[in-house]
Symmetry: C2
Subunit: 121 residues, 2 copies
DNA sequence: GATTATCGATTACATGCGTAAATGATGTAG
DNA sequence: CTACATCATTTACGCATGTAATCGATAATC
């Protein structure tokens, strides 16, 4: 029951706004992916079978909504990456980006704020 | 030329120690994956074709070494995740784990140390 | 030197994925 | 009521992946 790359693009649209009809999803994807409506329909059906989205009939068509929550998906994906590459912890990932000087000013400022708010121990 | 999940398990072994013969790689994978030697050979060949590993003949067999560096792989994977889910920045990922209270003591201590070492601006 | 063991290389095969066309059902227009 | 349009459902198909077995070459053994 994992969500594929293409499927996740559809989920993104639904997390952003729902419920939506297939046609609206195609439109929302429009700039990001040049998919035929048929392609999006296929992805929606696969997501339905996986239980990741739900559909409610609305006249002749369906309106789709996410069942899988964005936060749960984000967490699963992130945890998977951390487990595979960083011993399951967050700090080593930050250290990696820091070592590569890939932390933006904004990142640094936000990180400072974040840890300042954390309980001392 | 992306590295698949199974292939990355082989890369992990080679990053850990190299050069290694196929048999040694199978042994090293032993506890993590119950793969037949033939399976590992297939993965090695695919990695060779992708240019991710190199092989040097050693008598009747080959010794394999990584060409793709672990750090580059880790970075590509991490950047991909950040781009897809966190607007390409590190701080929002940390915020996500912080909000879920998934930062360990060790993480927090390490993060404090990390940002303390960063230039103020 | 002929047979056997041991490598790597080639081939296999089911499943998932990306991408979509064809088909079928149902609502709408004339 | 019949033809057309519009949805969704089914089928398609090539490529990657996970997982191996088989084939072929070469080295070791008798």
């Amino acid at each position: 029951m994992s969500i594929s790359e293409a499927e996740s693009a559809v989920m993104q649209v639904l997390w952003n706004a729902h419920p939506l009809a297939a046609e609206e999803i195609v439109a929302a994807l429009g700039d990001a992916r040049q998919w035929q409506e048929a392609t999006v329909k296929t992805l929606l059906n696969r997501l339905l079978n996986k239980g990741a989205v739900a559909a409610v009939r609305d006249g002749r068509r369906y309106l789709y909504s996410p069942v899988l929550q964005r936060d749960a998906y984000v967490h699963a994906q992130s945890k998977d990456l951390l487990d595979r590459l960083f011993g399951g912890r967050v700090a080593p990932l930050v250290a990696h980006f820091s070592a590569r000087r890939k932390l933006s000013k904004k990142d640094v400022a936000e990180l400072r704020r974040l840890i300042a708010e954390l309980p001392d121990e």
